[in-house]
Structures are given as structure tokens and as C-alpha cells.
């Protein structure tokens, strides 16, 4: 369910490290809790954020969730397709449903995150 090579935050974001770039999305658990996603608001490319800053919002029919970046850095790309087809976040949250690509500024942010096993244990407590 949760890819081994990803890292996970307590706010239910996942991070895939790809060289100096971190790809960020929300987890399967998060999309199930939200229900049918209808709208995604993402930051602008080029914006700078600290770790755990709010960078966007995800709206379902009956709920709104803020979405945070687990790593500090500059936004280098956003997923334009998800803005057009928000349902992709429900269908494939861990791959095509990625949200932002960040040029991260510090390895230490990554150290704060959980691996897949720890995250699975973490969400057992949330349910």
C-alpha cells in the first residue's frame, strides 16, 4: 500500500526524493479521509517555503484540508493536471496524483519524516 522508498509526514504527506528534488503528495489514507476531491489549489512555481508551511488546499465536497510541505525549499514544478482533474488525487494519490516538486534546502527536514512501516503504524492510531 505505502511505497517503501517514500518518506511520510504526520500530516499525511508523502515525499519521494529524486536527487536534489523532493516530490510531494498526499497519502492514500489522507485521500480516503477527504472523500471525493473536487478542487486543488497549489502554490506558484518559484515560491519559497519553510518546512511545514501551508502551501495549498485540497477540497472535497464537504471538507477542506490544508496541505503542507514537509521540506523547506523552492517550488520548481506543480502538477497542472491535478488542477484540471482533481479526481486523480482519489484514483492515484501516490503516483499521478503528486502535487508539487520542491528543490529542498536541507537534508535535516527529511530526517524528521517516517518510513513506510512507521507511517502504517502511525495511521493505525489515527483510525
Amino acid at each position: 500500500m505505502y511505497p517503501e522508498e517514500y518518506l511520510y509526514s504526520r500530516e499525511h504527506e508523502w515525499v519521494k526524493v529524486d536527487g536534489e528534488i523532493a516530490v510531494v503528495g498526499i497519502t492514500e489514507f489522507a485521500q480516503t479521509e477527504l472523500g471525493e476531491v473536487v478542487f486543488v489549489e497549489l502554490p506558484d512555481v518559484g515560491q519559497l517555503f519553510d518546512a511545514n508551511d501551508e502551501v495549498g488546499t485540497i477540497e472535497s465536497v464537504k471538507a477542506v484540508a490544508e496541505f503542507y510541505t514537509p521540506v523547506a525549499g523552492e517550488i520548481v514544478e506543480i502538477n497542472e493536471i491535478i488542477v484540471e482533474s482533481p479526481e486523480m488525487l482519489n484514483d492515484d494519490p501516490h503516483q499521478d496524483g503528486w502535487l508539487i516538486r520542491v528543490r529542498y534546502s536541507s537534508e535535516s527536514d527529511l530526517a524528521e519524516l517516517m518510513d513506510a512501516a512507521a507511517y502504517e503504524k502511525f495511521i493505525e492510531g489515527e483510525e
Binding site: F39, E59, V61, K62, A63, V64
Partner: protein, 467 residues
């Protein structure tokens, strides 16, 4: 306890007994045990009643008789944001349907399609009249709608702090805005008018800068003068701000260039003219329309089209995540209950008048107002037009003699000739505004002109022409 019979309380004495037994308590008072004794009343409150329907009719007729009723006791030419228009009889009959008036906000679409379809039609009609593609399900009234429109531009243009508004906007709308923003980091800058009675375009251009959120102009403005919306649109676009078109006489939308056509970003106003009685100030219905790109910043409810599980067309409340019950303190507004039934009245009114009726009604207003303006100024030496700009159904009158004196004398002659401007505009203390609609038949117009003529001739009018 609780056994007294009342027409609105279906629980009879036998029911009470059975229900208390089922609950397992001896008396109804036992159910209030969580109220601290210190705050519990030992005696019922001292409120008159219960009254029968007959007694209630007598009481309210008594109150009504202590008012002077336009159209019955007096000829009234009053506007200033509330306009008397004739209401087709069929409208009220439809509003009386319990399926419309005794229902809640349509949160459950499967049993609320009637309300939802009607609101969707209202949104469509407002969109057609304003020339802007997205209209909401209604605001409380024009004034709070105006304040909400300014707050809306604050969400679109974050980090800007200045709202530039014309003094031609209804004084109570501007006062409402001041109340709404009194604790927010937002400054309101007001701009005056030119000799035509229109917003001073040059001053408006000077007032805007890169800290400006929005530029707001009303047409017809509070002096009745028709403003070109382009003035607001141009000033706003010069500094990348949003333009707000304010309308207090919604019927004018049937005749005048639409805000959308002129390039405005938001149209907001009062829809009372569409089938709602002036009713001493409310309830009325505010409307708000905007461009498609701002639809997620819009306050209040929106109805959207969708399909049901069998693929049939249906309507639902949508984009609800903007609203307070989901987003709480981050909502686009705190508005919850709006003016749904009043919006329904407007929808029925517009459906009955339709393409031909609404256009003709607007023209009747224009023709009568133009005639009254001409006759009034022909009649009296002491009266003249305060401004020369074109008007819809209202205009400002300047009087050589004190306004209060003249209006009081006219009232003695059975005419309420207008609303004084002095209280809100000290520099116009010698002016009032007169409104003319299809509710002022030719004989009322004659009465007004005659009173004005006698006043000019004698310095005072004879009494007794009215009541």
C-alpha cells in the same frame, strides 16, 4: 403543567401523560433539571396573550392605522434605495405555498429540488441582467452585499488595503461598509462628484494606486444620475484592482448598460424592486454577480447543476467549502441564512414580466420620471434640478426655501415629495430626491405638480388636498 391546550401545540393532556410515562419522569419540570436553580424562572414571563386571531388582527390593524400609507392616505414619491413597484397578484399566491415558505435551506437536494431549481433560475436571471456569468443565491440586502463585495476583493487582492468608493453610493451602504471593516486592516477612501452629479472621474483616477483593492461606483447613483460604469472599470484596471458596480434600483438593469458589458468585475445591489414590498425597510434581497475566475471567492450560497444516480438533471448547493459551516473562521463570509424566499419572489416577478414586460416597465418609469422632473421645474420658481445628468426614475431637486419646510408643506397637501439629502450630504442641504414609478398614477403626478406650483406662487400650499 403543559396540559393547557394551544392551537400551535399538538400535545394534548393524554399525550403528555403517556409521553412522561415513556420517558420515565413525573413531570416536564424534571426534564429541566440541568438548569441551575439560580437561573430558573418560577413564574412565566410577563408577556401579553395568548391572543386569538381576531384579537391579533385588531392589534395589528390598530398599528397599521397609525401609519400614513402611500397609495391610500398619501401620494409618495420616495426612493433612496427602496422603490414602490406594483406586484402581480399571482406572485403572492405562489409565495404562500408552504412547499416554498416553510422549508429549510436545501441541504438535502433529493427533497429540495423545487427550491434549488428556483435559485438556479434566480442566479441565471441575475447573470442575464448584470452581464456577469456567476451570481450567488442572494445576500441579505444591497448594503451588506456591498460590504461583502469589498471583502471579496480583499480575498482576491491580498496584501492591498484601500477601497476607493464614490460618494454617489447610497450613504447607508457606505456606512455599512465602515461597520464591516472597522477592525480589519482596510482603509476606505471616498471620492466626490462633478457638476453633472456623476462621480468625479479625474478625482477617481487620482485616488487609486497600487495599494487599491477595488473601485466602487453606483448607477443610478444616490442623486438618481446614471453613471457610465466604464469610469469604475477604467480606474480599477489602471492599477490592477477590481471594479464594483453598485445598483440600488434593480429595475434600471432592464434599461441601462450592464456592468459586465462595461468591464466591471463585480455587480452587487438591492433586488427589492423585483416584487418585494417596501415594508418599512425589509426583508429585501441582495444580489451579487461576478466573473467566472472569482467564483471561489464569492460569499454566500451557490446552486449548481448536476445529475442524480439515474443520470437525470438535478441541482445541488455547491462549492460549499467556501462557507462557514465547513471552513469556519477561514470562510469567505459568515453568512448562513440568506434571503431565499425573497429571491424566489424576484424570480417569479421576473418570470411574469419577462423580456417584454420588464423592458416596458422600465420605460414607463423613465417616461414618468422625466415628465415629473420637467413639470416640477416648470411649476415652481423656487425649484430647480440639482444636477443635469441623465436619470432613470429618480432625481435631485434643489429648493430656494428650506427643504424641511417645503416637504412639510407638501405633506400637508397629501404628498410625500422626496427624501432630504442634507442629513447625509451637508453640502446638499438645500436638496432632496424624488422618485417616480408606475405606482404613481397621473393623478398623483398632478397633485405633486399642483402642490409645487402653489408653493412657488404663495410661498405656502393650501392644506386638505390629500387627507
Amino acid at each position: 403543567m403543559g396540559s393547557d391546550s394551544h392551537r400551535y401545540l399538538p400535545t394534548g393532556s393524554l399525550d403528555l401523560e403517556e409521553m412522561l410515562e415513556a420517558i420515565g419522569v413525573a413531570s416536564v419540570d424534571d426534564l429541566f433539571s440541568t438548569l441551575p436553580a439560580a437561573v430558573r424562572l418560577t413564574e412565566p414571563p410577563a408577556v401579553e396573550g395568548p391572543l386569538s386571531d381576531q384579537e391579533l388582527r385588531r392589534f395589528f390593524r390598530g398599528l397599521a392605522s397609525r401609519n400614513l400609507t402611500p397609495g391610500e392616505d398619501v401620494a409618495a414619491f420616495l426612493g433612496g434605495g427602496a422603490y414602490r413597484h406594483e406586484t402581480p397578484a399571482s406572485l403572492d399566491h405562489l409565495l404562500y405555498r408552504a412547499e416554498f415558505f416553510s422549508v429549510y435551506t436545501p441541504y438535502q437536494p433529493e427533497v429540495s429540488q423545487g427550491t434549488l431549481q428556483a435559485i438556479f433560475e434566480f442566479q441565471t436571471l441575475i447573470s442575464m441582467l448584470t452581464g456577469l456569468p456567476v451570481a450567488n443565491a442572494s445576500m441579505y440586502d444591497g448594503a451588506s452585499g456591498f460590504a461583502e463585495a469589498v471583502l471579496m476583493t480583499d480575498r482576491v487582492k491580498r496584501k492591498r488595503h484601500k477601497a476607493v468608493v464614490s460618494r454617489g453610493i447610497h450613504p447607508e451602504y457606505r456606512a455599512t461598509l465602515e461597520s464591516y471593516v472597522q477592525n480589519l486592516d482596510l482603509e476606505v477612501v471616498e471620492v466626490g462628484w462633478d457638476e453633472q452629479g456623476r462621480t468625479d472621474a479625474a478625482a477617481l483616477e487620482r485616488a487609486v494606486d497600487d495599494d487599491t483593492l477595488c473601485v466602487a461606483v453606483q448607477s443610478p447613483n444616490h442623486f438618481g444620475v446614471i453613471e457610465p460604469w466604464e469610469v469604475a472599470a477604467r480606474a480599477a484596471s489602471s492599477c490592477d484592482a477590481l471594479s464594483i458596480a453598485v445598483v440600488t434600483e434593480a429595475l434600471s438593469l432592464a434599461m441601462l448598460r450592464t456592468p459586465g458589458d462595461a468591464g466591471c468585475d463585480i455587480a452587487v445591489g438591492e433586488g427589492q424592486s423585483f416584487g418585494l414590498p417596501v415594508g418599512f425597510g425589509g426583508p429585501y434581497v441582495g444580489f451579487l454577480a461576478t466573473r467566472d475566475e472569482f467564483k471561489r471567492a464569492i460569499p454566500g450560497r451557490l446552486v449548481g447543476e448536476t445529475v442524480d444516480a439515474e443520470g437525470r438533471r438535478a441541482w445541488v448547493l455547491t462549492l460549499a467549502t467556501r462557507e462557514q459551516h465547513i471552513r469556519r473562521e477561514k470562510a469567505t463570509s459568515n453568512i448562513c441564512t440568506n434571503q431565499s424566499l425573497c429571491a424566489l419572489a424576484a424570480t417569479i416577478y421576473l418570470a411574469l414580466h419577462g423580456r417584454v414586460g420588464l423592458a416596458r416597465l422600465a420605460e414607463i418609469n423613465v417616461q414618468r420620471a422625466a415628465t415629473v422632473r420637467r413639470r416640477l421645474f416648470e411649476a415652481g420658481d423656487g425649484l430647480e434640478a440639482a444636477f443635469r445628468g441623465p436619470i432613470f426614475n429618480e432625481f435631485a431637486v434643489r429648493s430656494a426655501r428650506p427643504v424641511d419646510e417645503v416637504l412639510a408643506e407638501m405633506r400637508e397637501a397629501g404628498v410625500l415629495a422626496g427624501v432630504p439629502l442634507g442629513p447625509d450630504y451637508p453640502e446638499l442641504e438645500d436638496c432632496w430626491i424624488t422618485a417616480v414609478t408606475e405606482c404613481n398614477p397621473p393623478e398623483e403626478i398632478d397633485r405633486l405638480a399642483a402642490a409645487a406650483a402653489r408653493m412657488a406662487r404663495t410661498g405656502t400650499v393650501e392644506t386638505g388636498a390629500g387627507r
